[in-house]
Symmetry: C2
Subunit: 199 residues, 2 copies
């Protein structure tokens, strides 16, 4: 009497072995849910239904996994967030779109927010430095196009990005204010009015 094939689909496409990609995806899931420190080999292996014997075939160390996963994230993030905005010519409109669009789809922000809590980690730090640098630069360019002086554009970009980062922490980590959808939209509206000059 042979065992029936496993019919319960678990997270991965079930049937069969894992690839490096599966491990990276699992790492990002865990990262979003429980932070960087939760991305540990043995827990992740348990979660994927294997043992760490498998892991060390794909990666030389935990660090290597983290690095690979974050680089995957960085690439994906750039493609989905900023490339779509390149097409918008009017800078004010571009900023508005960024603010509003950013306020949707949480998953990306949850992950970003977890990474903010691990800025001291040697693997996380350079990735976040690059990503933040790019984003702030994007903002600055837009303000420049709105006739801000170089210094004002830089300061306003810093302010806008700080507001984004801070709001993430307050909303997602400290669940200080569980806002309704209407409240949230009103807040985003207020931010747009305050940080983007009229015409």
């Amino acid at each position: 009497m042979t065992m029936p094939p496993n019919l319960i689909a678990d997270s991965r496409t079930d049937r069969a072995r894992l690839s490096s990609t599966d491990w990276e995806a699992g790492a990002l899931d865990l990262l979003a849910e429980q932070g960087v420190s939760a991305v540990a080999v043995e827990p992740l292996a348990r979660r994927l239904g294997v043992t760490k014997g498998s892991f060390y075939w794909h990666f030389p160390s935990r660090e290597a996994l983290l690095k690979a996963a974050l680089e995957r994230w960085e690439k994906l993030d750039e493609e989905t967030v900023f490339e779509p905005l390149e097409g918008i010519a009017d800078p004010a409109e571009r900023l508005r779109e960024l603010f509003v669009r950013t306020s949707k789809e949480m998953r990306s922000h949850v992950l970003y927010s977890e990474l903010l809590k691990a800025l001291d980690h040697p693997v996380v730090q350079p990735v976040m430095a690059r990503v933040s640098q790019r984003r702030i630069h994007f903002l600055m360019q837009a303000y420049r196009a709105l006739n801000f002086s170089r210094k004002d554009a830089m300061n306003r970009a810093r302010l806008a990005y700080s507001a984004y980062v801070g709001f993430l922490q307050l909303m997602l980590q400290l669940k200080l204010t569980r806002m309704s959808v209407e409240e949230f939209d009103a807040y985003v509206g207020h931010v747009v009015e305050t940080l983007i000059p009229i015409r």
Copy 2:
């Protein structure tokens, strides 16, 4: 031949035993330097020049130490930051003073910034919730006094506080921009102009 008395003063007032207060102070130091997870019993004991045999006489657990230390911090913080501002009658002036004064003396911010990275921790979370709530409320009151509508005041307070929180992370954790003193003052000036209405 007896040993000479130890002449090297190490952190605590040297000569002799520790009190609960010494442990709490040491915990806050470690917290500011290396984050919540670094507040561990054995490392802290080593740092204080004793063994954990001592620690468990003063505290029942690591959690208890953390709790005590954070409550001490919370109390101290309130006294030094907000009470001095209560005296300023003009709300715009009060806000300006808060912004500018906050931009000095780093130690407090370093600690706050580390706590921001541990908002998921069950001991940290309630403390930070209280502190942030109070601060946002303070801001809101000031904006109310500036004739903001209830909703606008709330949103502006959220925005201002988010900007503070985000800037802390970007400056202290990600050392994205090592700004000069002049640049920094200019940034604070820009923030004041942007977030506090004229007259």
